[in-house]
């Protein structure tokens, strides 16, 4: 295949983002006021790229000898990563000042991580999946330890790094075994020779190892042990990034690589029980443990595990509806959690203060806007009808029922019922707590803008779920 310059419109977002990363490096090196310029450069380029991704959604293409694909679901993911990245950049501006880690490098790393995610979502070759995944993960390790003078942040970074590199080891060894059984790394041809017969045991083990490594990245039980610690210890803006778009990127890799395997014979006998087990464990363990949490970031970490479980239901269903449902759910979940973590970062005091759920007592009367927004995100995370997550759950549960996995949908509904308790506890504390609110909040306009945009998107996806799922299902 020859190189054609007119193809560039397809992968233009990647080129632009890579250029922005390099320009930001130069700005950060030579200009003193870089921490003031870079956030806005980041926000503008992310917004432009998300617009560009939506614009070219109907133009499928493959580039670089079929290494990279664009159009359709890829562009939906690109939109999600860039828009989510823009919201994160807005949240960070005042948060970094407040926590005294006000350095321009944060934005360079943020841009690089989004570039890595875009490579994963567009990958047509396992090399691309690996390189994108590592670009994303390595920047996340640094971002988690960005507050390098605080022990919490150091510890979170070390735990994330060691366990993340461990998971990478599983993924690479899994890829090696998959390569051995299918003789190619191209995703289109990957399952041509792949069978679920016992003679292909090496390939099946490889697929299992690959899935296990990604179960770590999406925060699913039994590979969840890092999640609460890292979410709690990392700077809140970093937690917002890795719990939302980072998880979406890891899911996009699972959708690209694992979901085609469901088309093979006997796949439902081997793969479906595996994915369904991970989903069940995540939902049950996550929702029961979340009840006992007193720290709001830790509570949302367990909630993130539960949501990974719901999304795995869509993957376990193994049909087109399931995949569309997962993508819808990922968008809904990303914006709910971005909003929730954004609000936590606004409410957070210096040195990890005001992070216990009991600190939010009386917030409803003192800061009605902030409390109202937080209540909205908590209702949405629970899955109460007018908001986005309800329809996300509806689509994945319907897909599971259609794939004869009724029991899995019932477990999901039971877990939703349990999760009502720990989400609504935050709302109850804010509005019905007896004490006056003890702390002062310095309001932050950029962060509030990001949070309100997320809230509007959550409401929009809840009001018009049909047109959005139609857009996703079209490809």
């Amino acid at each position: 295949m020859d190189f054609n310059l007119s193809d560039i419109t397809g992968y233009l977002p990647l080129v632009i983002l890579a250029a922005v990363v390099l320009i930001s490096l130069v700005i950060e090196m030579y200009i003193k006021s870089a921490p003031k310029i870079l956030p806005w450069l980041t926000v503008i380029s992310f917004l432009g790229l998300s617009y560009q991704s939506l614009l070219t959604i109907g133009k499928p293409g493959s580039f670089f000898n079929n290494m990279l694909a664009t159009g359709g679901h890829v562009n939906i993911f690109w939109f999600l990563f860039n828009f989510g990245g823009a919201v994160v950049a807005l949240i960070t501006i005042d948060y970094l000042k407040k926590t005294e880690i006000y350095h321009g490098e944060y934005y360079i790393l943020l841009q690089s991580s989004v570039l890595g995610m875009m490579l994963i979502a567009g990958a047509k070759d396992l090399i691309m999946v690996f390189v994108g995944l590592e670009l994303m993960s390595l920047t996340f390790y640094i971002l988690a330890g960005f507050a390098r003078k605080r022990l919490f942040s150091n510890e979170a970074a070390l735990k994330y790094f060691l366990l993340g590199a461990f998971a990478t080891g599983f993924i690479v060894y899994g890829l090696a075994l998959i390569y051995g059984s299918s003789q190619t790394l191209n995703i289109d041809k990957l399952y041509e020779h792949f069978t679920f017969e016992s003679k292909n045991i090496v390939g099946i083990i490889g697929l299992f190892l690959f899935f296990a490594g990604f179960a770590f990245k999406i925060a699913s039980v039994p590979f969840h042990m890092w999640v609460p610690d890292v979410y709690q210890g990392a700077p809140t803006s970093t937690t917002a990034l890795m719990s939302t778009v980072g998880k979406a990127a890891a899911f996009s890799a699972l959708i690209i690589v694992v979901s085609p395997a469901f088309g093979k014979e006997k796949a439902t006998e081997i793969l479906t029980p595996l994915v369904a087990t991970f989903a069940t464990l995540s939902m049950v363990y996550g929702s029961i443990t979340a009840i006992m949490q007193t720290d709001i970031k830790r509570m949302l970490a367990y909630s993130s595990i539960v949501h990974a479980g719901y999304m795995l239901i869509g993957l376990a269903a193994g049909n087109k509806e399931g995949i569309d449902g997962v993508i819808f759910y990922l968008i809904a979940y990303s914006f709910m959690n971005l909003g929730a973590f954004g609000l936590i970062s606004v409410l957070e005091g210096k040195e990890e203060k005001n992070l216990a759920i009991s600190d939010y007592t009386g917030l409803g009367s003192k800061y009605p806007v902030l409390a109202g927004l937080l209540a909205l995100f908590m209702f949405s995370l629970t899955g109460i009808p007018p908001f986005a997550a309800f329809f996300g759950k509806y689509y994945v549960f319907m897909a599971a029922i259609r794939a004869d996995l009724l029991w899995l949908a019932i477990v999901g509904i039971a877990a939703s019922a349990i999760s009502l308790y720990f989400y609504l506890r935050v709302v109850v504390v804010m509005y019905f707590g007896k004490d006056e609110s003890k702390f002062e909040v310095t309001s932050s306009n950029p962060a509030l803008t990001g949070i309100i945009v997320s809230a509007l998107l959550v409401i929009l996806m809840g009001v018009l779920p049909g047109s959005i799922i139609d857009l996703i299902a079209k490809f």
């Binding site: 090399i127 390595l138 640094i142 605080r150 510890e155 979170a156 060691l162 461990f166 599983f170 090696a176």
Partner: protein, 100 residues
Amino acid sequence: MIPLEYYLILSAFLFVTGVTGVITRRNAIVVFMSIELMLNAANLTFVAYSSFFGDVVGQLFVFFVMAVAAAEVAIGLAIIIALFRNKETINIDEINILKW
């Protein structure tokens, strides 16, 4: 010529050694070395299959893995040093202000 199985058994052995090291060792640097062992097991598998199939793609992948592993070392050691400056230990049992 040495049969393919020999390489695969050796690399599986290396991989299991790495996993055991990560689980049992308590020094962050040794844990990290064990992770590198896992990556090298994967590299060996790739090279073995690649030469068995006569397909160069597997060997290309190894280059990517090595480059990424080098970046990972740089970041990992930096994180370990940042922690050591604040805490004066790299024993992962003592790094426990966040519950594991």
